[in-house]
């Protein structure tokens, strides 16, 4: 009996602390005016832009909304989230579509983002703070990681786990609002040695097939279907690469192409594009464009979109 009464007292105390401090954290969290979580929240609940760009850090760094707005005459928001892949992109898309219907969605695809890897699920914790607003959609994707996550999310403190420092950081040093675009102004120095290419007689490395994660493939298919149902024009894009990438035997590229062909989706590939290949001055690091590179790329993508969808331009 003593154990029961003591346990009840502890549980009540936990509930009180969780409720009070959880509510405080929730309030503070949604007062953010910049940073990753602000951009996610803006995408989910505020954006009514006509062009929305989804993707990982490549999307965030490569697509300049100002350029799209100027070239297409349509409002644009970059909803790229660093470190995230298709599960989060699809979740954001579904939440957006509950509220508004953009004219066009661009999905920047990382070709390696469909293989089995626990990080796809570990990083879903970025969605926890938004669970209470969109429990159905977010709960469904979180259940892919664990059926217990939704029980943990009953705790308000757990919903805002590891966010308080983030909030303080962007309160003290707010980021400039570029409609979601993450500009990098540095330039990658050209290396002293040239990149070694394989000799013609040299055997290619043995390719070991990596297993796809069926949840990720299904999410990409669903992303396409969601856009189709709402008559949203969809563009899939592969970002430019600095160094030559052999995709001839890349299962992932083949899989993505098959999805785009089946769903009549435009696929723009800038892998090994000569305008970017070896152009160190356009890159901030080996995987991301800098601001000049992003502006050039955005212009190219805009031109392509304008050619493919001539009726899209606003009168």
């Amino acid at each position: 009996m003593l154990l029961v009464t003591k346990s009840i007292k502890v549980i009540v105390c936990i509930f009180l602390i969780d409720f009070i401090f959880g509510e405080i954290q929730r309030y503070v969290f949604f007062q953010q005016k910049s940073g990753k979580f602000y951009r996610i929240n803006y995408t989910m609940d505020v954006s009514t832009d006509e062009v929305i760009i989804f993707g990982s850090s490549h999307a965030a760094a490569h697509y300049v909304p100002d350029v799209f707005e100027k070239e297409l005459g349509l409002s644009c928001y970059n909803a790229g989230v660093a470190g995230q892949q298709i599960l989060v992109h699809k979740t954001l898309q579904e939440i957006v579509l509950q509220r508004t219907t953009p004219k066009i969605m661009i999905l920047d695809i990382d070709t390696w983002g469909f293989y089995q890897d626990p990080y796809h699920y570990d990083r879903l914790s970025d969605l926890h703070p938004f669970y209470y607003k969109h429990p159905d959609i977010i709960g469904k994707v979180l259940a892919l990681k664990s059926g217990l996550t939704e029980y943990f999310l009953k705790s308000r403190l757990y919903q805002y786990n590891s966010t308080i420092v983030h909030v303080v950081k962007y309160w003290l040093a707010p980021q400039r609002d570029r409609k979601g675009y993450q500009a990098t102004l540095v330039q990658l120095p050209r290396p002293e040695q040239t990149v070694q290419v394989r000799r013609e007689d040299e055997q290619p490395p043995v390719r070991r097939p990596r297993p796809f994660d069926k949840n990720l493939i299904a999410a990409l298919e669903q992303f396409a279907l969601n856009a189709k149902k709402r008559n949203v024009r969809l563009v899939f894009a592969f970002s430019p690469t600095l160094e030559y990438t052999d995709t001839s035997q890349d299962d992932s590229v083949e899989k993505i192409r098959s999805i785009t062909n089946r769903n009549s989706i435009i696929l723009i590939s800038y892998i090994n594009n000569p305008d970017f290949l070896g152009h160190y001055e356009l890159f901030a690091d080996s995987g991301h464009l800098n601001d000049p590179g992003a502006r050039l790329f955005s212009k190219m993508v805009s031109d392509k979109i304008r050619d493919e969808f001539p009726d899209l331009r606003r009168n």
Partner: protein
């Protein structure tokens, strides 16, 4: 089944409930089934190894105790040691020694390909092997009687709270508590203490250790990229990571056993406040250090003392020679036990060297805080070797710290929060332990006489875990042993 998972908490709750329902006569059955289930949850095939170890040592102990002649007892002792150490060598050290021999031969100009085994080491083998060796040696020396009940002995070897990563128990301490005649009754005090220890352990693990690991792993995974200052900060973080990870595990283990009314040996005692290396080893991994003292250091020192009869050799006092040799052998083995890599051996040897110098020169100032600072720095240096992937990496890191400090790696964008949270977590930990070490009689939260303060304190710890804990993809470092 990781300790920091809901599955373990559910498993533990069921075991505790059934434990007090089942009579004391059949508790060994419940504990044995639970322990084997827990062990098999990692990999079922591992069970063959632990059961095999149990069977061999059970029969060896029983038969050995019947032998009057020491020579005959020694034969059975050797059988047990050979089987236990043989299994450990096979699973843990074969590839290491094979690769090392290959490197040595190649260095001498002989190009041979040493065989390598493609096997996975059974989890916890390093811990339960030491525990059973300790038992066999205790029976051999007549310190304990052999356990006649096979089930009780099997529980002793595989007891689920401690089988993976200790504390390494002593037969004289744990076996009597597991015996059927020991009628442990339900008590609120045991449940309360056990639950508190588990909560504390989860705080250490989830809030401090797993948080520190994020920055440490990012830095040590790119040994060539980062500056000396970055490595210094990462190593400081690592010192807290490894302590919190292991101490956290130990608290959960001790707390889990306490729920069952079973007392397990303390394993840590605020090692950051050690005022000498000797003091450090009285506070760090206490179950291992005392095991090494009783089963390696003292016997080796005794053997040397029987061999070395003179007072001095080469103008060095014999007692110092004995101490130096015994401590070096002990800590060489300590390092080797921690891992099949020269980095662990280097770590162990460094500690052996420190202890030898400390013993011979008696280096210690009169200021306790200064001694604590010096000890922390000396231990911090050894952690570089413990964490580095190779000896060459370790030396490169040491070189960078002393000659190329450079600028501190601060993660960009949202990633900057990782070291900030680590700093916060370390600060909370230090405040807690500082208070316990230097001001134990001051206002206590967790042992306050007012119930409301106690309840609020534990609720606050749980709230901190929910708010700051790392819940994604955590693994205990020591599980690899």
């Amino acid at each position: 089944m990781k300790f920091n998972s809901l599955y373990y908490l559910a498993f533990l709750s069921i075991v505790v409930l059934l434990y007090y329902v089942v009579g004391s006569r059949y508790r060994w059955v419940l504990l044995l089934l639970a322990s084997y289930y827990f062990y098999a949850s990692w990999k079922p095939v591992y069970l063959f190894v632990i059961v095999g170890t149990t069977v061999i040592n059970y029969f060896v102990a029983v038969v050995m105790a019947r032998q009057d002649e020491k020579r005959r007892r020694r034969k059975f002792l050797l059988i047990s040691l050979a089987s236990g150490l043989g299994l450990l060598f096979f699973f843990k050290y074969f590839n290491f020694f094979s690769a090392s021999i290959q490197d040595i031969l190649r260095g001498a100009g002989f190009f041979v390909k040493s065989p390598l085994l493609n096997i996975i080491m059974p989890i916890g083998i390093s811990f339960y092997t030491l525990q059973t060796i300790g038992y066999i040696l205790d029976v051999y020396h007549g310190r304990v009687r052999p356990e006649r009940h096979f089930g009780t002995f099997a529980v002793y070897v595989s007891f689920f709270p401690i089988v993976l990563s200790g504390p390494i128990e002593r037969s004289g301490h744990l076996l009597p508590q597991l015996e059927r005649k020991n009628k442990i009754v339900f008590s609120y005090e045991n449940i309360s203490k056990g639950a508190k220890l588990i909560i504390l352990g989860l705080f250490y693990k989830l809030v401090v250790a797993d948080r520190a690991a994020i920055y440490v792993n990012a830095v040590y995974a790119n040994a060539g990229k980062h500056s000396g200052l970055t490595f210094l900060v990462a190593t400081i973080f690592f010192s807290f990571q490894i302590y919190s990870d292991f101490a956290g595990y130990s608290y959960v283990a001790i707390g889990s056993a306490k729920l069952l009314g079973i007392d397990i040996l303390q394993n840590f005692n605020r090692p950051f406040f050690a005022a000498s290396i000797k003091d450090f080893w009285r506070r760090w991994h206490i179950s291992l250090s005392t095991w090494l003292r009783d089963y390696i250091f003292l016997p080796v020192a005794y053997s040397f003392s029987r061999m070395l009869k003179k007072e001095k050799y080469l103008s060095i006092r014999t007692d110092r020679i004995i101490y130096f040799c015994a401590i070096f052998i002990t800590f060489f083995l300590c390092g080797l036990w921690h891992g099949a890599n020269w980095t662990f051996i280097a770590w162990g040897c460094l500690h052996g060297f420190y202890l030898a110098v400390e013993n011979i020169l008696g280096l210690k100032t009169k200021r306790r805080l200064l001694n604590i600072g010096i000890t922390y720095i000396l231990v911090l240096f050894t952690w570089i070797f413990f964490r580095a992937a190779s000896i060459s990496d370790a030396f490169a890191i040491v070189g960078k710290i002393f000659t190329k400090p450079g600028s501190l790696f601060i993660p960009q964008g949202s990633d900057i929060v990782a070291p900030i949270y680590t700093g916060m977590a370390i600060l909370i930990l230090l405040v807690m332990e500082l208070k316990q070490e230097f001001f134990p009689s001051w206002f206590s939260f967790f042992n306050n006489e007012r119930e409301l303060v106690r309840v609020f304190s534990y609720a606050a710890i749980i709230a901190l875990i929910l708010s700051l804990g790392v819940f994604d993809g955590g693994q205990f470092i020591y599980a690899q042993f």
